[in-house]
């Protein structure tokens, strides 16, 4: 078959470039914004999963680590430990903290993990630094210019950077770890802990123990790690979701508008040719196929370029702005492809309507 659609597009390269550029821009925006959203979700999820424990116990109503508080009686940790199915118990404390680095105030979410007791070797020791030291997230370190061996000051206390590694970066803040004793010295509220993390016996399913632990710690909410990670990820990004949706909608509209205008103007310019094709026997469906093929050709090329540029943009932006964490999943690419195809179909409506109204008899006008 003669590729009429492609030939028509390639005949006007400037118009083709404008259309592909518009769609590419829209796809870049959609992929980047969506990958930023997924990046934040993923970081929160990974951070919670990396900490020890199959079950999280929080104060009732606590939704996440950053945007809500949790205070439990410290005696609750002992009570939890006495439950038969519980293997090991940890406490986790944390709060946002402003340090002084060379006269400049920098903020990070400082946490402290402590092994309360239980059978076997405790996990998560990589999050427990020596006294007087701090482990920083690499994003925070890059942002503040801190390196291993540098010092951060909080009031009359100072912490030497023991290590810089990937801990957790949730866009608004990054996590850091100090030793539990230090945390208690600085912020500790006597008789309270923020979270209790529980490792259960290998033969026990964590979700079968939730009710029992909830009864053991009155006024608490008990989650499996998976449940709490999902809640925290959702809460951490939920506030951004409406904004992200608006940006996605704008991107879609920009792409759709550019594509529609280019395909429509190309159709008007070639209205006579559509009339000729009608005269020489092209079926209406055949002509609509030409319009849709043009639209899809632009959309698919724009999609390919857009996704490629989005990867490149994320890479460069991540280097320049460390908090800019992105994550592109295969299913998100598939979703964006679906959006692109939808864009191309919607963009074809007006031109198809125009083609349908082309009078074949007009070809007899010289």
């Amino acid at each position: 078959m003669v590729p009429i659609a492609r030939r028509n597009l390639l005949a006007d390269k400037v118009k083709l470039l404008v259309a592909v550029g518009g769609v590419t821009l829209a796809i870049v925006l959609i992929v980047v914004v969506h990958s930023l959203y997924q990046g934040v979700r993923r970081e929160t999820d990974i951070f919670i999963h990396n900490l020890p424990g199959d079950i999280w116990i929080t104060q009732r109503g606590t939704t996440d680590l950053v945007f809500s508080n949790s205070n439990l009686p410290s005696t609750a940790a002992s009570a939890v430990r006495s439950v038969d199915e519980v293997k090991r118990v940890y406490t986790l404390d944390g709060r946002l903290m402003a340090f002084d680095v060379n006269g400049k105030e920098v903020r990070t979410y400082v946490m402290a993990l402590e092994f309360v007791g239980g059978a076997g070797e405790p996990e998560g020791t990589e999050y427990v630094p020596e006294k007087g030291t701090i482990i920083l997230d690499h994003t925070f370190a890059k942002q503040t210019g801190l390196h291993k061996g540098d010092k951060l000051t909080f009031g009359d206390k100072s912490f030497k950077v023991a290590d810089v590694r990937s801990i957790g970066n949730v866009l608004v803040t990054q996590f850091a770890f100090i030793r539990a004793e230090s945390f208690k010295e600085i912020f500790g509220v006597p008789g309270t802990v923020n979270y209790i993390l529980v490792t259960v016996d290998d033969r026990v399913a964590p979700d079968s123990l939730l009710q029992k632990l909830s009864d053991t710690v009155p006024g608490s909410s008990v989650y499996t790690t998976q449940q709490f990670a999902s809640r925290a990820s959702e809460k951490g990004t939920g506030d951004f979701l409406p904004i992200i949706r608006v940006i996605l909608a704008i991107s879609f509209i920009v792409g759709l508008t550019v594509l529609s205008l280019v395909i429509y103007s190309a159709t008007i310019e070639r209205a006579r040719e559509y009339a000729i094709m009608k005269v020489i026997g092209a079926s209406p469906m055949g002509l609509y196929r030409i319009v849709i093929s043009q639209s899809m050709f632009i959309a698919v090329v724009g999609f390919g370029l857009g996704v490629g540029l989005a990867f490149l943009f994320n890479e460069v932006a991540g280097d320049l702005v460390p908090q800019f964490i992105t994550y592109i999943r295969a299913q998100d690419i598939a979703l964006v492809f679906g959006i692109t195809i939808l864009m191309s179909i919607v963009a074809s409506f007006m031109p198809i309507n125009r083609v349908a109204r082309v009078e074949p008899a007009t070809v007899f006008r010289a």
Binding site: R7, E273, I276, V279, G281, S283, P284, A361, V363
Partner: protein, 305 residues
């Protein structure tokens, strides 16, 4: 849609030979006092292999007649039959199929698809008829080669001369082996030499391929090759000429051609209409019609024997 073959349209040989029949064809544009009768009760009968030239001043209804025969406009009243099929009763989809398989169009401004090369322009017409791939390419190449365009197959329309473009247009018109070819001012945009070539070409197509051709034109050169010349004025046939063998007095009367009053033209017009509706007595040779130009092998239609 069941399209009857020409041989199925009647019992006698003469009836079977008729490709186009037009009865009482009228097309009125607008309504009330602004109504214009572009075609006014025309009747016409054309046989296989006949080349009919329709002449007349601008606005006389020539092109409207062509678009009505081509099924591109619906008549206000009257009937158009092509190979016995009443196209006035066809739905849009059926009309598309009808045009695809039964008609070939040649235009004054060539009307080639600018983004396609010469071969693709012909191939596209075949694609629309459901013929694709290598078969379509082979046929398009053969048609263009037969028309002397073998070395211009990949040339885009804007790089072709007027004569070459019209040859591509003719090849496209022949692509689906139509029985009836409608040509609208095919020589108007061509210089004398190329115009002559195209006229010769159309004549040979009618003669050798037994295709019926209706040409609408101002070009008097075409009179030499036409079997009949019909003169149209104000939507009515005002005169006729049976080619170069019978010179009608009407043709030589400028008053009738371009300015006769309705009163004086009326009896002549009635006779013209009667003559137009009858095919010429022996318009064609009795040679059987080949199915396509390609099957003719080395046929070179623009060189008259």
């Amino acid at each position: 849609m069941a399209m009857p073959a020409a041989t199925e349209t009647g019992g006698s040989r003469n009836e079977a030979e008729v490709i186009l029949e037009v009865h009482g064809l009228t097309k009125v544009f607008g309504s009330g006092r602004a109504a214009v009768r572009a075609v006014d009760g025309l009747s016409l009968s054309v046989r296989r292999g006949e080349l009919v030239l329709v002449m007349g001043p601008s606005g006389s209804g020539k092109t409207t007649l062509l678009t009505l025969i081509g099924g591109l406009l619906r008549p206000t009243s009257g009937i158009v039959r092509v190979t016995g099929l009443d196209i006035s009763s066809l739905k849009e989809r059926q009309l598309t199929k009808f045009r695809r398989h039964y008609l070939g169009f040649i235009f004054q401004s060539f009307n080639l698809l600018e983004s396609l090369n010469a071969r693709e322009n012909v191939e596209a017409a075949l694609n629309f008829a459901g013929i694709g791939g290598r078969k379509a390419r082979k046929r398009a190449t053969a048609l263009l080669t037969d028309l002397g365009m073998a070395d211009r197959l990949r040339a885009r329309p804007h790089t072709l001369s007027g004569g070459e473009r019209q040859r591509v247009s003719i090849a496209r018109a022949l692509a689906n082996d139509p029985q009836l070819i409608l040509a609208d001012e095919p020589t108007a945009n061509l210089d004398s030499r190329h115009g002559h070539e195209v006229v010769e070409l159309l004549h040979d197509i009618a003669r050798q391929q037994q295709r019926t051709i209706i040409i609408v034109s101002h070009d008097h050169r075409i009179r030499d090759v036409a079997d009949r010349v019909l003169w149209l004025q104000d939507g009515r046939f005002e005169g006729f000429d049976e080619g170069d063998t019978q010179q009608s007095a009407l043709l030589d009367t400028a008053g009738v051609l371009y300015g006769a009053s309705p009163q004086t033209a009326s009896p002549q017009a009635a006779e013209s209409q009667r003559r137009a509706s009858q095919p010429v007595a022996e318009p064609i040779s009795a040679a059987p019609a080949p199915s396509s130009a390609v099957k003719r092998g080395g046929w070179l239609p623009w060189r008259r024997a």
